[in-house]
Assembly symmetry: C2
């Protein structure tokens, strides 16, 4: 592998000049050509390691997420990766299996690797865990209490509020809601939105209509079954993420329960899936593309400027009305 010295030699200039050329600083046209020729002939590639050592930047961004098997996370990662790669950055992705210890361990791993910035979807992290970190951090999806930090989130409360209100406006009062873990930020926020809409319409929240579980297919599946076996069956179900929605759909189908005739359904997250299913499911969609872009912008801005101001971006979801809710 050729190095900058060999290029300089062949081009008849100094390494400094080559370096300048490589970094977009003007050099004489004459030299420029010579350098370009030498680079081509030698198949020279700049050594990013040496460059990193010198400029104190690794050109990598760490991504810390709970699970890699969650479609929402991976979709966002994909978008981010495809943006930052254009600026020469690469991502190091770590999933911490929703595990408290692993979350910190892998955070430290990323720090040790000298990433230039970190994108985190946190669960257990607290203020203390991150207050001594001196590289840019962007929190996504979830937020950490009491921390003034960059973040890109959606208005979870409003999302759930809108969905619930839509059901209420369609005459529903017995609305079952299936949520993620109690201790998870999005889960709490989404419940708040549900609660707010119900209260606003003076509808009592029945405890058995609020089911917490994991954000997975099984939770949705089992919760739907248990709801449909209740003495007083809810007239509508609100599933609060993709996997849960999928589970609910599968369960209702199994039980041969017609949507929306027998029960209405509002789902979450995956428009593509919602369109495939019959009847098409009314869902809350997150602006995934926008979220990914904002995250990428935020982390790049924080890394590339010395601007230490924090910015928290809250994006709105959209309620895509399709055919799974009946007016009663």
């Amino acid at each position: 592998m050729a190095n900058i010295k060999q290029v300089a030699n062949m081009a008849g200039v100094s390494t400094a000049t080559v370096s300048k050329y490589l970094n977009g600083i003007r050099v004489k046209d004459f030299n420029k050509e010579a350098i370009e020729n030498a680079i081509t002939k030698l198949e020279y590639k700049r050594n990013p390691t040496a460059r990193s050592l010198r400029i104190h930047k690794s050109m990598t961004i760490g991504v810390l997420i709970p699970e890699l098997d969650n479609l929402f996370s991976t979709s966002i990662i994909s978008i981010i990766e495809n943006i930052i790669i254009k600026k020469g950055y690469s991502t190091i992705i770590c999933d911490y299996k929703s595990d408290r210890e692993l979350e910190i361990k892998k955070l430290n791993f990323l720090l040790d690797k000298l990433v230039d910035g970190i994108i985190i979807m946190p669960i257990y992290l607290t203020k203390k865990d991150i207050e001594n970190i001196d590289i840019p951090i962007v929190f996504i999806d979830r937020r950490i209490n009491d921390v003034d930090a960059n973040c890109v989130i959606i208005d979870n409360e409003k999302a759930a509020f809108d969905a619930t209100k839509y059901l209420i406006n369609n005459g529903h009062k017995d609305i079952g809601v299936i949520l993620g873990p109690r201790n998870v930020y999005t889960s709490k926020e989404r419940f708040k939105g549900y609660e707010k809409a119900m209260k606003e319409h003076d509808i009592e929240i029945k405890e058995q209509y609020v089911i917490h579980g994991d954000y997975d297919i099984k939770t949705g599946h089992d919760a739907a079954i248990s709801m449909m076996k209740m003495n007083k069956i809810p007239t509508a179900i609100f599933a609060t993420n993709y996997e849960i929605t999928l589970g609910v759909i599968i369960a209702l189908n199994e039980m041969n329960i017609n949507v929306p005739e027998e029960v209405s359904l509002v789902g979450f997250d995956n428009l593509e899936m919602a369109r495939v299913v019959r009847p098409k499911v009314t869902i809350v969609t997150q602006p995934i593309e926008e979220i990914g872009k904002r995250i990428a912008q935020t982390i790049l801005r924080a890394i590339e400027t010395q601007n230490r101001e924090k910015q928290c971006i809250k994006l709105d979801t959209e309620l895509v009305i399709q055919d799974s809710v009946k007016k009663i």
Copy 2:
């Protein structure tokens, strides 16, 4: 951030001694203690960039996959990452959107980043694209023609053969099969297995029973619908990946078609999902954990030994028999 020199100073030894200590070479107990104290006091962390420059290793492994929204890929990546991280390696993941140009572009990006090895799930790559690469490569899931390379794959043909044969043994002859793209390795192999089982039992393959599409929900959904509208409806459907299986299940449910009374089904890949659904779906499962482990082992071995022998590991799938196939 402290560097090795400061540690050496505080410990009263030379940087060489500290370096030796860090690399597990014996130093006098007396010095060892002094060094350990200094490291603790200074909160010294070895700088991986400088180390990389010196040892000509980046301690990163590139992962090149078609899509990041495919559960099979991400599950494997998660396993790999959790193994290699223990040896200090990190992964740089690139998805190329199943795009021919991006596949090469991102491969080059990884090469430019000086990764120590690459794990590739290829689609369009040919021998020519990789013959000049001088770092270890492990191909997964799919194989490249004519290339003597490391690979970890499953016996796709046998998997499909077993599934088809199982259906045949249950009396089925009109077996619909829903496959991925025609040009994709796994897709071709799985078709071969189907074909072989059919031929072996002298069953004619009806063209309309073989549907190619993408490995996604929509393909499974639409194909199932079209099959159930045929003049001669197949008595069984074989779905050849997770997303397709999901689509088929959703479609059959929508059409109120009972499984297995009206049509039998064999799915692929996701045992968890298959267990949630009623009736539980009989599926071909890939040994994901084993696949991930083997990939990690193979790439690490190739990187850490100078052993340039190639090894191709072919793993067997398992047919998990549940309740979605009826004997006729």
